[in-house]
């Protein structure tokens, strides 16, 4: 019992007792009035912070606690908030207020001169400064180039043929995401389908297609593509020629007289492509039409590729219009 009393007395002294600041003869830090009230406020804030921080491991230990993320966040957030408040109280009320001044440092011209002098005098006895400098520079540049050279192997930096390569060949079957072949009869109007080349890597940007069936009377493809749309079915690269997003929007009017004509739209920057005219851009920033893939309907009704894209698929680059895709 007396033990407890001792602890209580000690706590009371700690809280209520005041220490006397030591006084030097000449002060280094300004004196300030005592502010025991604010000291107690800071103590309270520290204790509050301790409590909230202590709650964190307790909340953490509980399993399947609903809203655990929120409770943990509030616990640690409050702990730091109380700490911040304690610091602010100390800053404004407990720590002495001092306004000191110093000189802005000026550049030291004598020392600058000395540095210049050191460099100049150390090279005093060199008779061929420029030649030495050039030679050292050449060596340094060459070593630099040599050290950087392995970076060239990071990728096929000089080989841009990959940009023209596609998995599409004449006779390649169109399949859906599960690998099932697309049948021409399954392609209905007023909706859109995503297709891939059979057996190829679906993630390659030259792979995915968007396939739609249009009213043949509305189709007006560029010259040379008259046979590319059997039965009104057209296929385009699904990768936008602007910035590479998947063109996954299809605008399909229910009532033609007042609604806009069918279009493929990209959700990134809203490049809008007309599937009836060869994927031409009718709105948005895309600089090239969507590459079109010629289609043929095989004997069994399966949709097959009739060749390769009209142009290399994917976003534009320096040589994108240079060659046909292979």
């Amino acid at each position: 019992m007396s033990r407890l009393r001792d602890w209580l007395v000690a706590a009371a002294v700690l809280l209520l007792g005041r220490g006397r600041p030591k006084r030097r003869e000449t002060r280094l830090v300004a004196a300030g009035p005592e502010n025991p009230g604010s000291e107690l406020v800071a103590v309270a804030l520290f204790l509050a912070a301790a409590l909230c921080a202590a709650a964190f491991p307790v909340l953490y230990a509980l399993d399947r606690l609903p809203r655990q993320t929120q409770l943990l966040g509030v616990a640690i957030g409050l702990a730091f908030a109380f700490l911040a408040a304690a610091m602010i109280v100390l800053a404004k009320r407990v720590v002495p207020d001092e306004e000191l001044d110093e000189n802005y440092s000026l550049p030291s011209v004598p020392k600058q001169e000395e540095l210049v002098g050191i460099v100049e005098e150390s090279t005093d006895r060199i008779t061929r400064k420029r030649l030495l400098g050039l030679a050292a520079g050449a060596a340094g540049a060459a070593v630099g180039v040599a050290l950087v050279t392995p970076a060239v192997s990071l990728g096929p930096v000089f080989d841009t043929s990959g940009f023209y390569e596609t998995p599409w060949r004449r006779g390649r079957r169109l399949v859906d995401e599960q690998g099932r072949p697309l049948l021409a009869d399954d392609i209905e109007e007023a909706t859109f389908y995503t297709a891939f080349p059979e057996g190829a890597d679906k993630e390659s940007i030259a792979a995915p297609l968007v396939v739609v069936r249009l009213d043949p009377a509305t189709i007006a493809l560029p010259a040379g593509r008259e046979s590319w749309a059997p039965d009104g079915i057209v296929a385009y690269s699904k990768i936008c020629t602007h910035a590479g997003c998947a063109v996954s929007l299809y605008r399909s009017p229910l009532f033609e007289p007042v609604e806009p004509a069918p279009a493929l739209v990209c959700p990134c920057h809203y490049s809008t492509f007309n599937p009836a005219t060869g994927g031409t851009v009718e709105f948005g920033p895309a600089g090239r039409p969507l590459p079109q893939l010629p289609l043929v309907v095989a004997a069994g009704g399966e949709l097959q590729s009739g060749g390769n894209f009209s142009q290399a698929p994917g976003p534009s680059w320096w040589g994108v219009r240079m060659r046909r895709p292979t």
């Binding site: 802005y104 990071l154 993630e203 996954s248």
Partner: protein
């Protein structure tokens, strides 16, 4: 006790003179001088939470099938990278708290840098001898933008995956060697080889944080060695800096700012959801969603990309400037170039090549303030244009009409803001002169009355 520590440290490091100077170093303490510190503390939180995340994130694009606790993704194929983030978010205690705190800290880090940059610009703090400090700061801003982009792209969710494709197209769009550069970085045509993910990862967790850390060190060293600038006032001159010493005065203030920033970030991390990748689903090159946006600090780029008309000049098979170049590369290049060249340009134009330790109030440099306001308006309008589609969904304002309107507004409004800002500065200056005159007249009248 303190004596023992001090003696121990000085005997072994000889730093007592330096520490004495450092502890009594003078800080002017206007509130706007604390913005850079906020950015610093956000970076501290980023590194601390980031280290935790590296203990859980798997930087691999190998495919796995999800069999975790979140029903809508059950049985879905995804990369290990994405799966590790979903697992951390939904099945590791405090995992989501720390992940969200990390992401909020990134957003706040760059916001604080921008606020700090605005303060530096509009008070002329970038003038000699602090132009080098300013350049270091701009490099940090650029690095931070890249660092944030890589960070949220590592997760491989649907939204950030789309963003990576766009980043790829901007790299491709660089005239002449864009494709070669992209091949180098991605190790082939998009989506690149497996090791592209390793490269993003090491850039994000090691290379760029170390770079930013080094730059912070240089930046702080330069600030300290030149002393902080101050607004003119009694006792405050080009020669004398007045303020609170590091210790004891500034220490609790800085600690308060550190703890306060940390507290806010943890509150956000726990209470406000950010980047809920389990809702977006994993990325595939052939999937996309409406409403995909980059994090706010890259929003100016999506605005630029969306606003550009579909110019893509080409001839003889050469595509001279692929379209994404303008909004994705040229636009930020111009902005950073203007910021970088501004101190030199101002020196050239005003002929003022002197040292400046005193700050200008914005009104005291009307042309600078007006230019800054106009330039900022230009960037801000492009930024806002990037969300025009959501404005259409929420408010019914036609997206197409908005784009056409922006084509005019982004050039006209900055000029208007320039003129208005110039006018406001001059009016405020004139008002002060008149008030000073009045006060002088009153004093003279009082003196005359007395005699």
């Amino acid at each position: 006790m303190i004596r023992r520590v001090v003696v121990f440290v000085d005997e072994r490091t000889g730093t007592a003179p330096f520490l004495k100077k450092a502890l009594r170093y003078v800080f002017p303490d206007h509130w706007s001088f604390l913005l850079g510190e906020v950015a610093l503390y956000a970076f501290v939180v980023l590194v601390a939470t980031g280290i935790y995340l590296t203990f859980f994130f798997v930087p691999s694009t190998e495919t796995v099938t999800y069999h975790g606790s979140y029903a809508p993704l059950q049985g879905v194929e995804m990369t290990k990278a994405y799966e590790s983030v979903v697992h951390l978010s939904l099945e590791v205690k405090a995992g989501l708290l720390i992940r969200q705190t990390h992401h909020w800290a990134a957003n706040v880090f760059i916001a604080a840098i921008v606020l700090h940059l605005l303060r530096i610009f509009f008070t002329g703090a970038y003038r000699k001898p602090r132009d080098l400090t300013y350049y270091v700061g701009l490099v940090m801003l650029f690095t931070a933008l890249l660092e944030g982009y890589l960070g949220y792209s590592l997760v491989d969710d649907l939204l950030s995956g789309m963003g990576l494709a766009i980043g790829y197209s901007v790299a491709l769009s660089i005239p002449f060697f864009g494709a070669n550069l992209a091949n180098l970085i991605w190790n082939g045509v998009y989506p690149g080889a497996e090791d592209f993910w390793s490269r993003m990862y090491i850039a994000h967790v090691l290379l760029l944080p170390v770079l930013i850390g080094l730059l912070i060190g240089i930046h702080l060293f330069l600030v300290a060695s030149r002393h902080h600038t101050q607004f003119p006032g009694p006792k405050k001159t080009e020669r004398k800096v007045v303020g609170t010493p590091t210790y004891p005065g500034q220490t609790p203030k800085s600690l308060g700012l550190l703890f306060g920033t940390t507290s806010l970030l943890f509150f956000l991390g726990g209470l406000v959801q950010i980047n809920p990748v389990w809702l977006w689903g994993p990325y595939e090159t052939y999937l996309s969603t409406n409403g995909a946006q980059p994090d706010w600090y890259l929003g100016w780029l999506i605005g630029g990309l969306r606003l550009m008309p579909n110019w893509e000049p080409s001839a003889f098979g050469y595509t001279f400037v692929p379209n994404p170049f303008w909004g994705g590369a040229a636009f930020p290049l111009v902005v950073f170039a203007v910021l970088l060249l501004w101190p030199t340009a101002e020196r050239r134009i005003t002929g003022d090549r002197g040292f400046h330790n005193l700050l200008d109030r914005p009104r005291d440099a009307p042309w600078r303030t007006a230019f800054g306001a106009g330039f900022f308006t230009w960037v801000f309008l492009v930024f806002v244009a990037g969300s025009a589609d959501r404005i259409d969904v929420f408010f019914g304002l036609s997206y197409v009409d908005q784009i056409h309107a922006y084509w005019v507004v982004i050039w006209v409004l900055p000029l208007v803001v320039f003129a208005v800002a110039l006018r406001v500065c001059r009016t405020l200056q004139r008002k002060e002169l008149i008030e000073a005159d009045q006060r002088r007249a009153q004093m003279e009248a009082r003196a005359a009355n007395r005699s």
